[in-house]
Structure formats: structure tokens, C-alpha cells
């Protein structure tokens, strides 16, 4: 072939286009795309889940594309017939939205080797839960000498101006409000008592964070001494040397299922199933339970050990006792009204 200026340009342009729009080259088959969460979740999945999946499938091609639940839903919604994601990971609220919008396949339960071993709360036919997230009380042991034992401790006068909470945008913030409602005689359907409790908490509030990630910064800066917090987020802070401790209040820890789903119309359903199987397997869950990940397993074949056994629960029976699961179908019905109300009542 003659190397003229014209065909050199053509080649360069084609290569450039392929680089700019990688989708062009994937017209037929693309690797399995798993939209995990960002941050420590992505690290854990890249290090443990992906190798397990590769082993189980003889090195099938897969890509991690970490993003928030809401972004996953938006992306799949935008291209329902040819979704850019094969496997989604969701907190309970968004999971129900994804199911309601008909974006996910039922999990092929009868084909699954591990589904029946999951604790009952994790057995969700539209997408099982490979992990839990646990919310308890986080405090600074340098300034809080007696460890708190109840959510009610946040209202103690000694914490005046030292308490942090988050708004209801996050699962954590919403779950905390529901727990408050329950403590004061309300429920998922009756949130009023929680708003009254928050009103009473106002003089104690040092900060209302816009998202749970900000709570970590606030602890680091000494802006707050006590707040509701996510177990895994606290472990990361602790590992960095920030003085924080996590306790489960006597009312129980607020637990969220993190569910994993096969996307409807995915071209890689078989591989998606295999990835989820790997996530449910005792081997993967046992590895993820160890340092530094400390992710709470849902497979009953995994014996709970180490830091988890020390701080959270020594076995699955205790988990069932200490973890409070909330009714997110009920919560979703009114969540937007609560967010609206929280906006109004908490605004300075």
C-alpha cells in the first residue's frame, strides 16, 4: 500500500474515532460490565470478586464500572433495550426502584448453588444480597470517655454542639430517621416522631452533612464527636489513624441489604449469573470479611471471625438478633415527602 498523505489521514482518523467511541468496536460482543460502588467497594471487588469470577469462567472478560446506584438506574433506563451495564449493585431504596421500573431480571434461583445458604433476609428473588451494610453509633474515644450505648445518647446534654447527622439524600440518613421514628412510637409509615426528635436534637447539632462521606471529614477535623455511621466507612477512617470507634446501640444496628441484580436485556446473562454466584460463594465472602475489607457476609456457611465477631456479632444467629432491617417498600412510598420536609425543617 502506498503511504500517501490521504490514506495516512484516513487511518489516523479511524483509529482516533475508535479511541473516542470504543463502543464502535463492541458492536457484537462486549465484556461483562459490573457497576459496583465507588471507593472501598471497588477496591474490594477488584481484588477479590473479579479474580474469583475469572477463575470460575476460564478468564471471561469483565469490566468494573463503578458508579452510584442512581446513576446505574439512569444509564440502564436511558437504553433499556441495549443496556450498557450487565450487573447492578444497589442499596435497598434504589433496588426497589429498579425493580419497579422493570430494569432487572429475576435471579435464576433454582440454578443457584448458594442462594439457599443465604440468611433469609438476603434471599431476594429479584436479586440476592451478597453483603450487608451496618449503621451504628460512631464516636471519638478521645473526647467521649464512656462509650454510648443507645441512639438516645445523642440527645445527652454533654454532646451539645458535638453531634453530626446527614440529610435524607442517603440511605444512611433515611434509615436513621426511620429508626428514630420507631424509638419514639412511630414506624416506616409514621415518621412524625422522628422529626420531633430531630427538632429536639437541634441545639446539639454541630453539623448536618450533605452526604455520609462528609461525616468522615468532620470526624477528622474534630468538628463532631458523635454521629450515626456506617461500619465499613469507620473501619477505613480507623485504618488511617483517625480516633473513631463504632458501637452497636442496644436498639440494634440499622442494617441494609446490598443487592446484586442481572439487568434486563443484558447480552451477557450467563456471565452475569456466574459473577453473582461468585459474589454469593462462601470463599469470596470469607475473604471479603477479612482485613482490610471487613464486609459483612450473608452466606451462613461463612463463620464470622476477626474484627466483625468482636464489634458486630459472633454468628449469624446474633446477626439476626442485633440487625434491624427496615421496610424499604414502605419507606420509598413517602421518602420524597420526607426529604422535602427535612429540607424545610432543618434549613437555617
Amino acid at each position: 500500500m502506498l503511504l500517501t498523505r490521504r490514506n495516512l489521514m484516513q487511518t489516523a482518523l479511524t483509529l482516533g474515532a475508535m479511541h473516542a467511541f470504543p463502543g464502535l468496536t463492541w458492536a457484537q460482543a462486549r465484556p461483562l460490565v459490573f457497576a459496583t460502588f465507588t471507593g472501598s467497594w471497588e477496591e474490594a471487588h477488584r481484588a477479590v470478586l473479579v479474580p474469583a469470577f475469572r477463575k470460575a469462567t476460564g478468564n471471561a472478560d469483565m469490566v468494573l464500572d463503578p458508579m452510584l446506584s442512581v446513576d446505574q438506574i439512569a444509564k440502564v433506563n436511558a437504553a433499556k433495550n441495549n443496556p450498557p451495564i450487565d450487573v447492578m449493585l444497589h442499596d435497598p431504596g434504589p433496588a426497589l426502584q429498579a425493580v419497579a421500573q422493570d430494569l432487572v431480571e429475576p435471579y435464576p434461583v433454582e440454578k443457584s448453588a448458594y442462594y439457599k445458604d443465604l440468611i433469609p433476609a438476603a434471599q431476594v428473588p429479584m436479586g440476592p444480597a451478597p453483603f450487608f451494610q451496618v449503621v451504628g453509633i460512631t464516636y471519638n474515644p478521645e473526647t467521649v470517655k464512656t462509650p454510648p450505648t443507645s441512639w438516645a445518647d445523642l440527645w445527652k446534654p454533654e454532646f451539645k454542639g458535638r453531634v453530626g447527622i446527614t440529610n435524607l439524600n442517603s440511605t444512611l440518613g433515611t434509615g436513621f430517621m426511620v429508626e428514630l421514628a420507631k424509638m419514639h412510637g412511630g414506624s416506616e409509615a409514621n415518621i412524625d416522631p422522628a422529626f420531633k426528635a430531630i427538632e429536639a436534637l437541634r441545639p446539639s447539632l454541630a453539623a448536618v452533612a450533605a452526604n455520609p462521606g462528609q461525616l468522615a471529614t468532620l470526624f477528622q477535623q474534630g468538628q463532631i464527636d458523635i454521629s450515626p455511621g456506617n461500619f465499613n466507612a469507620i473501619q477505613i477512617l480507623k485504618a488511617r489513624g483517625v480516633p473513631v470507634e463504632f458501637v452497636i446501640p442496644k436498639e440494634g444496628a440499622i442494617a441494609f441489604k446490598t443487592t446484586i441484580h442481572i439487568v434486563k436485556n443484558s447480552p451477557n446473562k450467563e456471565l452475569a449469573f456466574k459473577l453473582i454466584e461468585a459474589a454469593l460463594s462462601p470463599e469470596v465472602q470469607a475473604t471479603l470479611m477479612e482485613e482490610p475489607y471487613l464486609i459483612v457476609p450473608t452466606n451462613t456457611k461463612v463463620a464470622i471471625k476477626g474484627e466483625l465477631a468482636k464489634t458486630l456479632a459472633k454468628d449469624h444467629a446474633e446477626i439476626a438478633k442485633k440487625f434491624v432491617f427496615q421496610d424499604w417498600a414502605k419507606i420509598n412510598e413517602q421518602r420524597s415527602a420526607w426529604i422535602e420536609r427535612f429540607n424545610r425543617e432543618i434549613r437555617v
Partner: protein, 285 residues
């Protein structure tokens, strides 16, 4: 022969075509979709009407959010102008080596990401931050002041973050002023203050207007700084839109408040532009 000469005073519009196509594809089209979306009466779609706009404009809380966002912009712009103008003035009056240094200091913030700059302000304004630590060391306060998550904190942080947008246009405007004008003014008997007020300030007005416009637009849309320094108790329009679109998946309402926000900003921008035109007239007179 005249017929073969090309008219060099007009340019071929085709040169602008790639940019124009980009604008149509990536700006006008999404804007049209956004506008269409804002007329949907519910998130599931189907019906069209003005429900979302009625909901927003008939709600005192929502109007309050809009008002406080626009007001935030005014405060930030005023503070930036107050602090930025002397910097630009100093730059103009300094010898060559100092000019380079001032320019570097002005540009330095632009070289780091907004997130990093904002986190620096979290550290500065925190309970154990630089401000509180200094005040406590001087014995001026016993308990740390609450600076983070306050209105004042947001204004100061935004003013610093957006400072280059104000200083650079003013430097350009001041640079265009003939130094002889100031000399002429003093020869004619005007003092420093009068020279500044009657000569320099009017002539630099176009730069001030341009700087204010940029700072204002950047300050009211600064999602990251507003939420990190303001926290969850202060709600501004960008966060309000994000909350509706992302957390609540209520896209029609989010679209409607985006349009309302856009229109309000356009109104403010046209006021600035009108001022700009006036000031040009003033400067040329």
C-alpha cells in the same frame, strides 16, 4: 482585476461550523430535551402541562432557595470585587518582577482542583482549624467559633475559589488605560483619590462588569463548594436540582427548577450586560 480580489474584511462562516455543530448537538439539543421534560406533569411521563412550574413558583420554600442562591451570588461577587480590585491595581503599579509574582499567585488557585481548594477551606474553618486555633492562641475566644457550615464560611470560601475570575479581567482593563491619563489628571490638580474615582475607576468598568459576571455565574452554580462548606442545612439551587433528579428521580421537577434557575440567571446576566454597555459608553466618552 478588481473582481478577483478577495474581500478581506469578511470571513467565511464555514470556519465556525464545527463549533456551531458541537453547540447544536451538545448544548441546544439537551436544553430542548430539558425544556420538554419540564412540562411533564409526573415522572412517569404521559401528560404535559405547567404543573411543575406552578409547584415551584407557588411554593415559598422553593422561592426561598432560589432567592438565597441569587443573594449568595451577590455577596460573593461583592466580596470578590472588594478584595480583587486592589490586587489588580497592585499588579498594574508594580515593577516587572513583582507583576510576574502577583500573576502567579492569582493563577495558582486555578491550577488546583476546586475540590482540593474547598477541602483546604474545611481545614481552615474547622473547629480545630487555623482560624480557631489562632484566635484561641491569642486568647480572644474560649470555645471554638462555628465557622464551617455557616453562611459567612460559604461566602468567604467561594470568594477565594472564584477570585481569579474577577482579578484577571480587571488586570486586562487596567492595563489598557493610558498611564498618561493619570498624570494628566494630577497635573490638572486632582488628588490620588479623585484621579482614581474620576478616571481609573470609570475606565476599568468594563473589566469590573466582566469579572462580576464570571464570578457571579461561577458562585451560584458551585455545587461542590456550596455543599462541602455549607453542609446539609443550607440548600442552594444546584443541590436542590441534584436532590430532585438523583435521589428522588423526579426528573420533570428537576428540569423545571433548572429552567427557572437558568432564566433567573439570564435575567441577572442581562442586567450585568446592560451595565456593561453603559460603562463602555462611559469609558469612551
Amino acid at each position: 482585476m478588481a473582481a478577483t480580489l478577495r474581500d478581506v474584511t469578511t470571513y467565511d462562516l464555514k470556519l465556525a461550523a464545527p463549533l456551531a455543530a458541537g453547540f447544536v448537538l451538545f448544548f441546544v439539543t439537551p436544553l430542548a430535551i430539558l425544556l420538554a421534560l419540564s412540562f411533564q406533569t409526573d415522572p412517569q411521563g404521559g401528560h404535559y402541562g405547567l404543573t411543575q412550574y406552578v409547584n415551584f413558583l407557588g411554593d415559598r420554600f422553593s422561592l426561598g432557595v432560589l432567592g438565597s442562591t441569587l443573594w449568595l451570588g451577590v455577596k460573593v461577587t461583592a466580596l470578590t470585587l472588594l478584595l480583587g480590585y486592589p490586587v489588580a491595581w497592585l499588579h498594574q503599579r508594580s515593577p516587572g518582577w513583582a507583576r510576574g509574582l502577583i500573576m502567579l499567585l492569582v493563577l495558582l488557585p486555578l491550577l488546583t482542583s476546586v475540590v482540593v481548594r474547598t477541602f483546604a477551606w474545611v481545614v481552615i474553618l474547622g473547629r480545630q482549624g487555623i482560624v480557631n486555633a489562632t484566635l484561641a492562641w491569642l486568647g480572644l475566644i474560649d470555645t471554638p467559633l462555628k465557622l464551617l457550615y455557616t453562611d459567612g464560611g460559604v461566602v468567604v470560601a467561594l470568594a477565594q475559589v472564584q477570585m481569579p475570575l474577577m482579578v484577571l479581567p480587571i488586570i486586562t482593563a487596567l492595563g489598557r488605560i493610558d498611564p498618561n491619563l493619570a498624570d494628566a489628571s494630577s497635573v490638572l490638580g486632582a488628588g490620588h483619590w479623585r484621579t482614581f474615582r474620576k478616571v481609573i475607576l470609570p475606565l476599568s468598568l468594563p473589566g469590573i462588569v466582566a469579572g462580576c459576571l464570571l464570578t457571579y455565574a461561577a458562585a451560584i452554580t458551585a455545587f461542590i463548594t456550596q455543599s462541602l462548606i455549607g453542609g446539609g442545612q443550607m440548600l442552594f439551587m444546584p443541590m436542590y436540582i441534584y436532590q430532585q433528579a438523583s435521589t428522588l428521580q423526579n426528573w420533570p421537577f428537576a428540569a423545571a427548577i433548572s429552567i427557572v434557575f437558568l432564566v433567573s440567571v439570564l435575567v441577572v446576566v442581562s442586567i450585568f450586560n446592560a451595565l456593561g454597555r453603559l460603562s463602555r459608553g462611559y469609558a469612551n466618552a
